[in-house]
Amino acid sequence: MAQLIDLADVLRSKNAGALLVTLDLIFENEDTYRKVRDSGVITPELIATRYGVSQNEVTIVPYDVAYAIKITIPRLYISGQFGDSDIYGAQQHAPLIDIEIPD
């Protein structure tokens, strides 16, 4: 077993507009990318649980050409709305770091 923080070369979050936050997992090589993509671990169900959103609010897109998996969910608040703590959405990836991927 290995955790995503150790497998991914890039593990980041960022606004996709003012309403959504998008999480990118980018892997250094095709083998690691395929291992994670095909593990069946990264599912809307898991992301919904980790972020407290509903499954139908989660989109997951594997992007083979860049060895990347993209996950998009709604922001907790609209960017800059009263209560928001992360205007750029750049620190919302922590719930992904300890996801375990079987060897």
Partner: protein, 455 residues
């Protein structure tokens, strides 16, 4: 065979800078046009609301100086989109003024188009009633009332207003809010290049230095269009573009790397291929553009969000840290009572107290809810209908946080390490996005009036 068309994306954001070395080398390659995106909504709603850039005027002037000189010397167009950050009238006016100032200093003369992107509430209400405005994600539908609340709203133009300005003889185009890729697609589409390649190249180069390694600051990127492919390379001779970075770029800030929406269609990158042709140049082909039946523009609008005062303080007392949630809840109650005592209505202000070191960054999404740090910080945030109210509520909040008892309290002279004097920081008026929608229009030029100026 079409001759190659070469475009320079000077910087990812006008005012973020670029190296002179990269810029001059790019110019020496022979360019068809020079451009820069000047906008982003990333810094949040304040800048559109206040009508100011989030970079300094000094930085904008520095970036424009070389660009304007090169455009005039080479007799090629200079295009700027989303001027001033949000691309609204006061922001566009600042960039226009900087250009006029530079022209006067350097003795440049040219024809300039200034394209406006501000939308008026009545037009939006009409479009909304006709069902032509839809939310662009999880946000409320618009109503006459919510449109009336709007302080400032812009629409994002496509390529057509740029093209009209150029056809009317403009050499310099200062556009209000525009899609990033439209800035770079306008000229190549006029010259008949393949729309799939044009939009994809535009999308990649608009963030300029982001696709360049090593990434030290912001820098220039050159895109070269050919009939069946395009090339991307850094302006700087010692920097590189890599296949993986170029391919990964469509991931950035988009929900899907395969489908990228533009006003008149969708860039589809499913069949795009990326090839490293030298250690610094990447070749892309296979991208396509699927025209849409409807022409849609994105709307971005803000309403007033109240006057903000913030207060920040550290807590090092382990007993207080161990009961911090209950303590914050107690303070909220005290503040509500005290505000009532001052005759302040509960609907006229909002108070939020965040606990840094616990869950301030992620709130309910924080996975490590029960960690116990040795030090935390409290951030109190008040917005209220006016500045006096905002300060009055914050003064009560500060007092409550500093002096309220908690179970087991021993630090009875004060609960907080306050790092500043004055401790309460009034930020002034704030804004909130209330419009993040898409509007269907018939005429891509109508919402974007063009002003022609002889400089």
């Amino acid at each position: 065979m079409k001759p190659p068309l070469r475009a320079l994306a000077t910087t990812g954001l006008l005012g973020y800078g670029y190296t002179e070395e990269a810029f001059h080398r790019a110019v020496s390659l022979g360019l068809d046009f020079i451009a820069a995106d000047a906008g982003s909504m990333d810094p949040g709603p304040h800048y559109l609301g206040a009508g100011i850039p989030f970079v300094t005027r000094t930085a904008i002037k520095r970036d424009l100086s070389f660009m304007l000189d090169a455009a005039i010397e080479q007799n090629i167009p200079l295009l700027l989109g989303s001027a001033g950050g949000g691309g609204s009238a006061p922001q566009v006016a600042i960039v226009r003024q900087v250009i006029e100032e530079l022209a006067a200093e350097k003795g440049h003369h040219f024809k300039m188009a200034v394209i406006h992107a501000d939308q008026d509430n009545e037009t939006l209400k009409e479009a909304n009633r006709a069902g032509r405005i839809q939310p662009l994600g999880p946000i409320d539908d618009l109503t006459d009332e919510s449109i009336d609340e709007t302080h400032r709203v812009v629409a994002m133009m496509g390529v057509e207003p740029f093209q009209k300005a150029l056809n009317d003889g403009a050499q310099v185009v200062v556009a209000g809010r525009a899609t990033d890729a439209s800035i770079y697609s306008a000229i190549p589409l006029m010259r008949g290049y393949d729309p799939g390649l044009v939009w994809h190249m535009a999308k990649i180069i608009e963030c300029a230095g982001q696709v360049v390694s090593p990434r030290t600051g912001s820098d220039s990127v050159v895109g070269t269009l050919n009939e069946d492919h395009f090339l991307v390379e850094p302006g700087h001779p010692d920097k590189r573009c890599t296949r993986m970075k170029i391919a990964a770029h469509t991931l950035y800030e988009n929900p899907s790397p395969y489908y990228l929406e533009e006003p008149d269609g969708t860039l589809v990158t499913i069949d795009s291929s990326y090839e490293q042709v030298s250690d610094r140049v990447v070749k892309v082909s296979g991208s396509r553009f699927e025209p849409s039946k409807r022409y849609t523009v994105k709307l971005e609008g803000v309403r007033a969000g109240g006057f903000r005062t913030v207060f920040f303080a550290g807590v090092r007392d382990p007993i207080l840290i161990s009961v911090i949630d209950e303590f914050v809840a107690t303070c909220h109650k005290h503040v509500a009572n005290e505000a009532k005592g001052l005759g302040i209505s509960p609907d006229s202000y909002r108070l939020n107290i965040k606990v840094y070191g616990q869950n301030a960054t992620m709130g309910p999404r924080e996975p490590m809810k029960h960690a116990t740090p040795h030090e935390i910080a409290l951030l109190a945030d008040v917005t209220a209908d006016n500045e006096d109210l905002s300060r009055a509520v914050m003064a009560k909040a500060r007092f409550a946080l500093l002096h309220t008892d908690f179970p087991g309290r021993k630090c009875i002279s004060g609960n907080l390490a306050i790092p500043f004097s004055p401790s309460d920081i009034a930020v002034g008026p704030t804004y909130e996005f209330n419009i993040w929608h898409v509007m269907e229009i018939n005429d891509p030029l109508k919402p974007f009036p063009i002003e022609m100026v002889e400089v």
